[in-house]
Structure formats: structure tokens, C-alpha cells
């Protein structure tokens, strides 16, 4: 119990003093994961809509692939991206390795399948319900997809939250392509890994508590927005 008490105090101390290093790390975590989730939505929403409501050859194998990719091990993603982004790799000249951009890319690879697969599920369920209506209205595929996405928008926040959770929590990919460089690519999870390796378990756990609080805050905020929007708007 001693460790947990100390961890709580460590966390409170860092937060209450607005530790500048901590603020920078939290800021970068939010920036990287936020950008990764935004990028994932940009790709995952249309992909998911096509998989959920589209009819094209290869749809089922692709759906299986996307579902399986939800469980991609972050370390494997990190390693693959490292080999691509390394100076010796094909994308080396871009100079992206050990930058936040590389971390955004890595997390987007991890999050996109989650957003796409959950979107596909939500859209498929709605599409099942609306199919006859769409057919009698003679709607185009694009118009159908737009209607499904709009009507599924409250359910889709769940997909976004699941993606954000994955992005904020993963360490394996960002530590490889980011390098955990102080003040440049250090985020919450890599800082926790570093403090653990230093044997500073209470500090590591304290950082973990802050990450948990952050995650809770984001979830509560989005859920609150969803409830308010649902009440104000057109159900």
C-alpha cells in the first residue's frame, strides 16, 4: 500500500506545482494522440462506411483484415515504421524519424483499424435498418453513406474514444520511432517507461495516474458533449 500512497503524492505534487516538464510531456501526448486520432478518422470513417454499407469485391476479406489489424502489436508497428523512416530506409530522406510526426504516423497506423472497424459495424447495423427506405428513395451510394454517417454520429464517438484510448495508452510504437528524446519526443507513456527503468516506481505510477485522469477527462468530456448534442439536436 505504501507504493500507492507515495504514487498518489508524487502525482499530486507534479500536478499541483504545474511541473513544466510534465506540462510539456502532457501537451505533447495530447498533440500526438489527438493528431493521430484525427488522421485515423479522416481515413477510418470513409473506409469504415465503405466496408459497412458498400458492396464491392474484396469487401469481406478487407473487413477481416481491418478487424484483425485492431490487434496490431504496437512494437511491430513501431519497428516497421522505423525500418521505413530510418535514414537507411526508403522514406529516410524525409527526416521524420525521432520527430512527433513519426509518432503521429505510428499511432495513426494503430488507431485507423479501430476507427474503421467500429465505423463499419455501426454503419452496417444502421444500413440494415435503412436499406429498404434508401431503396424506395432511390438514393445513390454516396448519399446513403452520408446519411448513415450523420445518423450514426453519436455512436461514432465511441469509435473515436476507443481510438483515442489506444493512442494515449500505447508505448511500444512511439518509443521506437520517437526515441523518447527529452523535450522533443517524450510523451506520458515513454516517460513512464523511462522512470520504471530508473527504478523510480512511485514516480512512474504517479505519471500513470495522471495519464489515467487525462483519459477519464477526455472520455467524460466527449460523453458529456454527446449527451448535450443529442438533447439539443435532432435525436
Amino acid at each position: 500500500m505504501q507504493d500507492f500512497t507515495t504514487a498518489f503524492f508524487a502525482a499530486f505534487d507534479l500536478v499541483l506545482t504545474l511541473d513544466p516538464d510534465l506540462m510539456q510531456i502532457v501537451g505533447l501526448s495530447l498533440l500526438v494522440s489527438g493528431a493521430a486520432v484525427a488522421l485515423s478518422c479522416l481515413i477510418g470513417f470513409p473506409l469504415g462506411a465503405a466496408l459497412g454499407a458498400g458492396r464491392f469485391p474484396g469487401r469481406l476479406p478487407l473487413l477481416v483484415l481491418v478487424n484483425a489489424a485492431m490487434g496490431l502489436p504496437p512494437v511491430v508497428v513501431g519497428l516497421t515504421l522505423y525500418l521505413l523512416l530510418s535514414r537507411a530506409g526508403p522514406l529516410g530522406p524525409l527526416g521524420l524519424l525521432y520527430t512527433p510526426a513519426a509518432m503521429i504516423l505510428a499511432q495513426a497506423v494503430l488507431v485507423t483499424p479501430i476507427v474503421a472497424a467500429l465505423t463499419a459495424q455501426i454503419v452496417a447495423d444502421l444500413s440494415e435498418e435503412y436499406r429498404d427506405l434508401f431503396a424506395t428513395m432511390g438514393m445513390s451510394r454516396t448519399a446513403q453513406a452520408a446519411t448513415l454517417m450523420w445518423d450514426g454520429r453519436f455512436a461514432l464517438t465511441t469509435a473515436v474514444l476507443a481510438g483515442a484510448g489506444r493512442a494515449l495508452a500505447e508505448v511500444g510504437a512511439v518509443i521506437i520511432v520517437g526515441g523518447n528524446i527529452d523535450h522533443v519526443t517524450r510523451v506520458m507513456t515513454t516517460a513512464i517507461a523511462l522512470e520504471t527503468s530508473r527504478g523510480a516506481l512511485e514516480l512512474a505510477l504517479g505519471l500513470g495516474l495522471i495519464l489515467l485522469a487525462l483519459s477519464l477527462g477526455i472520455n467524460a468530456a466527449l460523453m458529456g458533449m454527446r449527451a448535450t448534442a443529442r438533447r439539443l439536436a435532432d435525436g
Binding site: S86, R87, A88, G89, G92, P93, G95, L97, Y98, G179, N180, I181, D182, V184, L194, T196, S197, R198, G199, A200, L201
Partner: protein
């Protein structure tokens, strides 16, 4: 020499000020807090921003081979020489040393590290190995060879390979009340030492030499060759050496500078 270097720095300041160097490093120098002490001094004197990627020595060398770094700072002499010989790096320079120690729940009375390991093998450890091709792991492998024992035949029983960094391995060692090999700096700054103590120390075979290498611009045209040269010159020069010597924990130095001209 110092004046000349300072002049050079002043002249190149505008060109490199917005630039940075990337150091591929072993973990012990970061985990021990040396960089937090050393690098701000370097940055203040030269205006060059430093970025450290701290990984195992094996991975650091591999990353530098891929041109993903400007400077290599590790502790595996033979591998460093091979790196330079292959044309990946400019000539290697000694920077500093400390020593490896065996830590565990009890003191081991032995004449040499090889003796100590023989006793450990007989007592069936348990012994935790990094098993990650790091500098510490390489040294551990050499010590077992000197003792004439192949511990990997007992892998999974009393000999356990964590495949993790030094910190993670130390955490497991503390939890299992086992023995492991680590460097003194990491040990002195490790906060979760639990009931572990230094089981064996103080032998020439446990010397832990750190070297620095600028990645060759011929092999990697993308490197910041100027910044790398300035860093290597600085850390092996009087300023850097004095700064290393000044880093102490509870009065004891963690690293002893030993660069030669």
C-alpha cells in the same frame, strides 16, 4: 586549444545554432542522470541542442549504422572498433569508465568475477541476464566464457534472460531476490534496490569503458558532421572531462573521465 575551439564555436554558432545533434546512447548514461548534468553545460557553451536516444548498446550501434544518429556513445569496445573498421564511424575516443558489479541478496566471496559466476552456477543462482545484446550483456557473456560455463544451457531454470533494459532487469532482480550484472552508475541511481546489495566488485575484468564515435559523413551524408565533431571534441576535452568528474552521487563519482589526446 580551448581558445581555438571556443573561437571555432563562435564562428559557426549562427550556422549550427538552430541545428541539433542526435546521440545514440546506451541506457546507463541516461538512467544514471549523467546527461541531465552534462548536456546543459555543453548546450550552454556551444549553443548546439542535443537529443538523446537511449537504447541498448546493440540497438544504438544498429541505429547509428542506419545513419539514424550523429554520435554514438556506448560501452562495448570490440563492437565499437568493428563499427569504425566497417567505415561507419570516425576514429573512436575513450570518454570515461566506471565498473560493473554483481548485485544480489548476499555477498559472494571470490577471487575473480569468473570465480563468482562459477559459485553462482553451482548454487543455481538464480541469475538474471539482460539477454539483449547490450554492452552489459556482452560483458556478462565474456565473463561466463572466462569461467568456462555456458549458462544458456540452463536458460529458463536458474539462468533467466529478461530480454529487457537494465532498469527493467533490475526491477525483476529485486522482485525475485536474484543476482545480476550491472554498471555502478545505474546501480547507484537506481531507486528500487529493495534488499539487494553489491555481491561482488573491484576487479580489472569488471572495468567498464565508455567510448564516443562520430558517425562518418562519408557513410552517412545526412549527419550533422560539424556538430558531431564539436561534441566529440568537447566531451573528450578539458571542459567535458571536468564536467563528468564533477557528477557525483552521495559524494562518490559515478564515472571517471579518462580521455586521452
Amino acid at each position: 586549444m580551448i581558445r581555438l575551439a571556443s573561437l571555432f564555436v563562435l564562428l559557426t554558432l549562427p550556422a549550427v545554432a538552430q541545428d541539433h545533434i542526435l546521440i545514440q546512447s546506451t541506457t546507463s548514461t541516461q538512467n544514471s542522470g549523467l546527461y541531465d548534468h552534462l548536456l546543459p553545460v555543453f548546450e550552454a557553451e556551444t549553443g548546439i541542442e542535443t537529443r538523446v536516444v537511449a537504447v541498448g548498446t546493440g540497438q544504438a550501434i544498429r541505429n547509428a549504422t542506419n545513419c539514424d544518429g550523429d554520435v554514438l556513445l556506448v560501452h562495448a569496445h570490440a563492437a565499437e572498433d568493428a563499427f569504425v573498421a566497417a567505415g561507419y564511424g570516425l576514429p573512436r575516443r575513450d570518454v570515461m569508465y566506471n565498473d560493473f558489479i554483481l548485485i544480489g541478496p548476499d555477498v559472494i566471496l571470490a577471487d575473480s568475477p569468473a570465480d563468482a559466476l562459477t559459485l553462482l552456477a553451482r548454487a543455481q543462482g538464480p541469475f538474471l541476464s539482460r539477454g539483449d545484446d547490450s554492452g552489459t550483456h556482452r560483458r556478462e557473456t565474456e565473463l561466463w566464457r572466462a569461467a568456462g560455463i555456458d549458462p544458456t544451457t540452463s536458460s529458463g531454470t536458474w539462468y533467466r534472460e529478461t530480454g529487457s533494459g537494465m532498469g527493467a532487469t533490475l526491477n525483476i532482480t529485486a522482485a525475485m531476490d536474484a543476482y545480476t550484472l550491472t554498471d555502478r552508475a545505474t546501480w547507484l541511481t537506481f531507486a528500487n534496490s529493495a534488499d539487494l546489495i553489491i555481491a561482488y566488485e573491484g576487479h580489472a575484468d569488471l572495468n567498464n569503458q565508455y567510448g564516443v564515435i562520430a558517425v562518418s559523413p562519408d557513410h552517412c551524408p545526412s549527419v550533422n558532421a560539424t556538430g558531431a565533431r564539436i561534441f566529440v571534441d568537447w566531451i573528450t576535452g578539458p571542459q567535458g572531462q571536468a564536467t563528468i568528474a564533477a557528477y557525483r552521487m552521495n559524494g562518490a563519482p559515478l564515472f571517471t573521465p579518462n580521455a586521452t589526446e
